[in-house]
Symmetry: C2
Subunit: 234 residues, 2 copies
Amino acid sequence: MILFHITDIAGDTAILSGDELRHATKVLRVQQGDHIQMTDGHGMSYECQIQSISKREAVLQIMKKEAITQRIPRLHIAMALTKNMSRFEWFLEKAVEMGIERVTPLICDHSERKHFNAERCRKKVISAATQSLKYHFPTLDELRPLQEILDEATPENTLVAHYQPEQIHLADQLHKDGSYNILIGPEGDFSSKEMSQIKELKLPIVGLSPYRLRTETAGIMACSIFNSVNRSLK
Amino acid sequence: MILFHITDIAGDTAILSGDELRHATKVLRVQQGDHIQMTDGHGMSYECQIQSISKREAVLQIMKKEAITQRIPRLHIAMALTKNMSRFEWFLEKAVEMGIERVTPLICDHSERKHFNAERCRKKVISAATQSLKYHFPTLDELRPLQEILDEATPENTLVAHYQPEQIHLADQLHKDGSYNILIGPEGDFSSKEMSQIKELKLPIVGLSPYRLRTETAGIMACSIFNSVNRSLK
């Protein structure tokens, strides 16, 4: 099955244009009369038939619509941008495939990168979400300083992944059906000032692996462990 | 800590050359007299002091050596090459970071890609292994047809990851401290002929996620679930 993202809906008619139209016509070679599956990314599923196709747009008749319930529990990862942006984008793609609900890119004391192209990253999110058949697209926040996230954090809702052998393993800290925010630091880790704040807030500090992991690998492992604790195949 | 790969050792002297030398001198700017940590990738750790550096080689004095015990249990993933090779290489890097022991690239009926650059991929393995402080480098096999792997497979040692909602979850199938081979199919999945063979062999078929995953994401999830079942931070 192929899922398309649609934003332009009025009554029982929808218009497909831009990148999605190009993907549909150039790669998948859909034609007038074909049925295709669409989502608005906010939980709606639309089964549509293509009425007409031009270079600029395809006009679709909505045949059937259905609201898809959002999966709970939910995972929010706030992760430092990686120096090499393609590593962050990889994380984003994989996290979306695995069903993350929200990603916040962070600036920390040791962050080497302090800007990111939100529009480009949102396109990656949509592409990974449709590819893996998600009807609820994850939220990708604007870049935020760690400080802002810490201001909202409590030991009940926020865990910090940190590489040090004496920690408890994330899998032993998560409760099935619990929703969590997990913070992941930059290459070079959280600064000692940041770690002091984290300890003052009494946020649980968890380990992911006996190995030193790259930032984006830590992010993927956190998603995967969360999924494993809440395992379900339906 | 930085770990280098060394292959040229005679008695208490080691020679660093090629890519590792360039990395040491150009990126990390090591100098005569510095101490560096090396491994042969077969479990030996060497603490060395740099005696001399030229453009072609660095001569090192081995000050201390130690045999590092290999971690058990062990994970072997046999995974179809992805059409886009960078996806396979990304899997390789992450799997090495997570501590995989062996990777076999597979050709399946639905494989679009049927060749790969083993030398390039071995370099990726070494780079990820030293970066994540591994003293035992994983084995990267030559490309093999699925058939050969199935000829050696038994229900005791081999699991098959396959996307269908009725399966048991991998995390419920793995036993702590067990070593496993996990097979992961190509984009377009195993063919019905391959699935029949897998069923005839009674290999356990497991799911990884309620979502459709890309091949390389399935590979990473399998590593991560294996690590989570055998969780340890030491």
